[in-house]
Every structure is written in structure tokens, then in C-alpha cells.
């Protein structure tokens, strides 16, 4: 059965107030076209979870679509801080459930395995734990190892309503390949009630069957498949295209102030009808061709 839909239909399946797990990491495989469409549709009060915050989370938070973020922190690396996220935390307009990369991964892993909790060594002794202990209902606890008598910190699993995963290749059933490092995308997808796959390339199921070693997300977990080239721009998709440094710089500069960010949104999100309009605006086919990855380098 085909699950291929438009981006607009996939986004419309997410109600305001939902918990959405996002696949980006800093400037890699960020669900940018998804974030644009979600902002255009006016979906809001979201909980967003992400191991290391990506550009799509920064944009959704800047646009006021997010009420709560669950993440291990993050920045764009050398290109700077996620200004919208930092500003929202400084001004107290974003509820934050802040962890570390591994504790986020463990919470998704516990969710994926259907476990009631998961023990972890990280976070102990830190002010991160101090803050988590103040959250109600609780997301951390303590228990005694029945085998050794040792005391352990335990974390509550994450079970997002939907994971939105940006992938290189998928078929119409949603069987999806993730090439390159996967961070916690597999655990996110498997912890979530369902997954929306946004794919650069749509291939036949026969092509998937010929190379099933690469399949990370099986189709039975997927509700929607959206086939949309360059849908992570300006972030990178390993082996398909590089990140667009010039456009990331433009976003970085704009997002430093609420006014600059609003101007960015007005031009690149509200000012276009859909993803194709956005691609035209950021340089069209010529620019996308320049970003195309070298098959040996992967970028």
C-alpha cells in the first residue's frame, strides 16, 4: 500500500499540542521543509524532542510553534549558537527538559523497547539532574539494583506521538535507508507511535529488497512518505548534498534578533507557497547542483 502523500498532508496529520521527535543534528539532515510547512499551517503548542538540537528545532521555536523542548542541548558547531532556542530559554518562554546526548538516547531506547524506565550513569552530580528533579510529573527517579544493591539514577522513556525523519532513500511503504552516522534516529523512530519519512529519493520496493542491509526504518512503522528533493536545505544530507554555508550564514545573522528572524520567516517561509517556491528563492536548480555531493567524499 502506498503511503506517499504531499508534505502538506503529512503535516496536517499532526495536531497542535503533539509531541514530535525531529531527526536533525546541528546542520545535518534537519527536517527544514517540514518545519516551513508546519509554520505555514500554524500548528503550535508542540513538544519537540531531539538528541542534539538542529536548525529545524531552532526555526520552529523562533516561530512560536513549540511549547516544550526535550533535548541534550546543541549548537550549529563553528557557525554558532541556535539563537532562537537560546533567546527563548533566556526569556523563559520555552519549557525546557534538558538532558545530555546519551540520556536522550537512552530515553528513546527505553521507549523503543517498551521498558518502564532505564538506568544511567550520566547526569549524576550535575546541575542538569538538579533541574530534571524539579519537573512534575517526574522524569527521573532512583532505584536499587536488585542484584548488587547499588543505587541507580533511572530515566523515564520517551514515546513521541510522531517521529519526523529526513532520509536519503525510501520506498512507497516507508522502508527507509539512513546513510552515514544515524545518531539516535533509529531509536526516535522506534520509540514513536508512528513515523513520517521525508525522503530525497523514492525507489521501488524491489530496490529496497535488493539491499535490505541499509534499511533502518521498516515500512510498518511509517504513516506517511513524503518525496521531496533538497528538503533538508540548508542542512546537509550525507552522500546527496552538502550544507549550504552561505544560506546558513544568512539564517545565523537573521536569527540573532527577533526582527531579523521575522524577516527571514516572511521571506523564506510565509513568502513562498511551498518547498518548490523556497528552492527557487534560494538559488534554484543551479544552486542545488552546486551543493550536490561528490560520490566518493559524500559531501
Amino acid at each position: 500500500m502506498t503511503k506517499v502523500t504531499t508534505l502538506a498532508e503529512a503535516v496536517a496529520s499532526i495536531p497542535s499540542g503533539a509531541h514530535v521527535a525531529l531527526s536533525g543534528f546541528a546542520t545535518a539532515r534537519c527536517a527544514m521543509a517540514f518545519a516551513h510547512e508546519l509554520i505555514r499551517q500554524g500548528t503550535n503548542r508542540l513538544t519537540v524532542s531531539q538528541c542534539v538540537a538542529g536548525m529545524e528545532a531552532d526555526m520552529l521555536i523562533g516561530a512560536g510553534a513549540v511549547e516544550r523542548i526535550v533535548s541534550g542541548g546543541g549548537s550549529r558547531g563553528r557557525s554558532g549558537q541556535h539563537s532562537c532556542i537560546c533567546r527563548a530559554i533566556e526569556q523563559g518562554t520555552l519549557i525546557t527538559e534538558e538532558l545530555s546526548s546519551l540520556s536522550m538516547t537512552f530515553r528513546n531506547l527505553a521507549g523503543a523497547l517498551g521498558l518502564p524506565f532505564i538506568p544511567i550513569r550520566s547526569l549524576n552530580g550535575s546541575d542538569i539532574l538538579d533541574r530534571l528533579q524539579q519537573i512534575t510529573p517526574p522524569v527521573v527517579g532512583r532505584l536499587t539494583d536488585p542484584f548488587t544493591g547499588d543505587e541507580w539514577l533511572v530515566l523515564k522513556p520517551l514515546t513521541p506521538d510522531v517521529a519526523v525523519i529526513q532520509v536519503q532513500v525510501a520506498d512507497e511503504e516507508g522502508n527507509a535507508w539512513i546513510l552515514g552516522p544515524r545518531w539516535d534516529n533509529e531509536e526516535q523512530a522506534k520509540a514513536s507511535k508512528r513515523t513520517i519519512v521525508i525522503t530525497e529519493r523514492l525507489v521501488s520496493t524491489e530496490a529496497i529488497r535488493r539491499d535490505p542491509d541499509r534499511t533502518v526504518i521498516p515500512g510498518f512503522r511509517v504513516s506517511h512518505v513524503v518525496h521531496l528533493p533538497f528538503s533538508a536545505h540548508p542542512s546537509s544530507v550525507y552522500s546527496i548534498y552538502d550544507f549550504d554555508e552561505a544560506h546558513i550564514d544568512l539564517y545565523a545573522e537573521g536569527s540573532k534578533t527577533p526582527q531579523g528572524f521575522q524577516q527571514y520567516l516572511d521571506k523564506y517561509v510565509y513568502g513562498v507557497k511551498d518547498h518548490w517556491g523556497y528552492l527557487e528563492l534560494v538559488g534554484g536548480m543551479q544552486r542545488m547542483k552546486e551543493l550536490e555531493a561528490d560520490p566518493v567524499l559524500g559531501y
Binding site: F25, A26, T27, A28, V52, S71, G72, G73, G74, S75, R76, G77, R78, S79, Q81, I85, C86, R87, I89, E90, E98, L99, S100, S101, L102, S103, M104, T105, L109, I120, R121, S122, L123, N124, G125, S126, D127, I128, D150, E151, W152, L153, L179, G180, P181, R182, W183, D184, N185, E186, E187, S236, Y238, D242, F243, E245, A293, L297, G298, Y299
Partner: protein, 257 residues
């Protein structure tokens, strides 16, 4: 000897960092100087070093310099592409990471690191990156090496937010919190520090060439333990400088990050 060679403080720190790594160890790296230190160690005294990136990369051999962990330039020629659950879970949490490199906004007298915010956590503050894998490395690596600029606003008696725990308030407090390992070294652009085995307070181990003890102490907001005999940090060799300048960081991009 090479004491008369010209080198930058970045190069001296990278060489000092490389010296912390032993052959056959597993090291977790992120951005900047630790990357140069690790690749330098691997090309010199530690050819069997395994270099891991938290997001799921083992032993890359980049030929172009990346802007961070998420830049595919940094993954080039990796032996394994995998996941957080593997790298930070099945390697780090299991206790297999020998050395984790950490950097931050502030470090205190017991090696506690802040990468989260500057200012008053309950009042006005400026927000920064947060943990990423930093807290996990600080909690679970066998030892950590902290790289930080030598400034009084960065070397504090106490940090405003403990993102990544060192020895907490010293003595046995770290073990009591259920943590293993702990900071082994702090490398700045003026000196190298270790930690007192009993009190766990930061202790000066060596000062860099062309630096005075007064210069080191007057640019810190706390008093470290100062031993009677204070060696000078061993300078880079000509071959180490050649590797950094010609092979590892020819465009000085790491040096600038």
C-alpha cells in the same frame, strides 16, 4: 632539541593533548584542538588509537576540515558509521572510552565544567550550548582532558552551572555520586594542571615556555596547589609541527575554532 622553534600556543596545547593519549586507547573527540591532538597522536606514538565521534563515526581520516561533528567532512573514510546508542552507550557507558576531551565556558578548582550558561541561573543569564555528549563523557570516561583558555573569568573557584561533573566539591564526592573516572588534566594556553589525589583540588603540573608562575596565577580566579618543583611544558618537535601544519590543519581552520 626544538626549544628554539617558533610555535603557537595552539600548537603547544595540541602537542600536550596528544601526549595524554596512549597507543591502543579509545578517545572521544568533538571540535577543534582535541581533533588535532588525536590525529597527531595517531600519526606519531599511538597508531592504534581508535577515534570515535559521539554521533556514530569510528576512525575517520578527513582530508577537509569540518565545521563540527555534524559536518560530513569529519566522517570521511570512517571504518564504521553507527549511532549514539553504540558510541555513547555500548562504548562509553560500558566503560570502554579511555579519554574524553572536553572544553567549556568555565571550569572550577575541582574540574567541574560549565557549557550551559553564564550569569545567574535563576535570574539574568546568557544561554550557550548545554551538554551534548559532554556530561556523558565527564560521567563515564576513564579520564577526561579539559582544554580551556587561561583567563580569570574561565578558571573559577566555583562555576555558575555544573553541566559536566569533575570532582564536585572534592575528596570522595565524585565516587559517592556514582561516577567513574574523572578529570586527569587541564590544558590551558599558559599551563598544565592535574588534580591532587586526595583532595582532588586542581594542582599545577607544568608551566608553558615563556610563561611565569605569576602570569599563570594572576590569570586565575582561584589558587591551585603549586608544587615546589615546577617543570616547563615540553615544546613541540619539528616533526609534530610539520604534521600539524602540513597534514592535519594546513589551512589553520582547527586552530581558529
Amino acid at each position: 632539541m626544538s626549544a628554539d622553534l617558533n610555535y603557537t600556543s595552539f600548537e603547544l596545547m595540541a602537542v600536550t593533548g596528544a601526549r595524554e593519549l596512549k597507543d591502543g586507547e579509545i578517545v572521544a573527540v568533538g571540535l577543534g584542538l582535541p581533533v588535532v591532538a588525536s590525529f597527531l597522536a595517531k600519526r606519531t606514538h599511538a597508531p592504534n588509537l581508535s577515534i570515535i565521534l559521539e554521533l556514530g563515526v569510528v576512525d575517520p581520516e578527513p582530508i577537509d576540515i569540518g565545521s563540527g561533528l555534524s559536518d560530513p567532512r569529519f566522517w570521511y573514510r570512517a571504518k564504521v558509521h553507527t549511532s549514539f546508542a553504540d558510541m555513547l552507550g555500548m562504548v562509553l557507558h560500558k566503560g570502554l572510552v579511555d579519554v574524553g576531551f572536553l572544553g567549556g565556558l568555565e571550569v572550577d578548582a575541582y574540574g567541574n565544567l560549565n557549557t550551559t550558561l553564564l550569569g545567574d541561573p535563576k535570574g539574568k543569564f546568557r544561554r550557550f550550548t548545554g551538554s551534548g555528549g559532554g556530561n556523558d563523557l565527564a560521567s563515564c570516561a576513564r579520564r577526561t582532558v579539559i582544554i580551556i583558555r587561561h583567563e580569570a573569568r574561565k578558571l573559577k573557584e566555583a562555576v555558575s552551572f555544573i553541566t559536566s561533573p569533575g570532582y564536585l566539591h572534592g575528596n570522595t564526592e565524585r565516587e559517592k555520586a556514582g561516577l567513574i573516572g574523572g578529570p586527569g588534566r587541564v590544558i590551558t594556553d599558559k599551563a598544565v594542571f592535574g588534580f591532587d589525589p586526595e583532595t582532588k583540588r586542581m594542582r599545577l603540573e607544568a608551566i608553558h615556555p615563556n610563561t611565569t608562575l605569576e602570569d599563570v596565577l594572576s590569570n586565575m580566579a582561584f589558587q591551585p596547589i603549586v608544587p615546589r618543583d615546577l617543570p616547563v611544558t615540553e615544546p613541540p618537535t619539528a616533526e609534530q609541527l610539520r604534521l600539524i601544519r602540513e597534514e592535519i590543519d594546513p589551512d589553520r581552520l582547527y586552530a581558529g575554532s
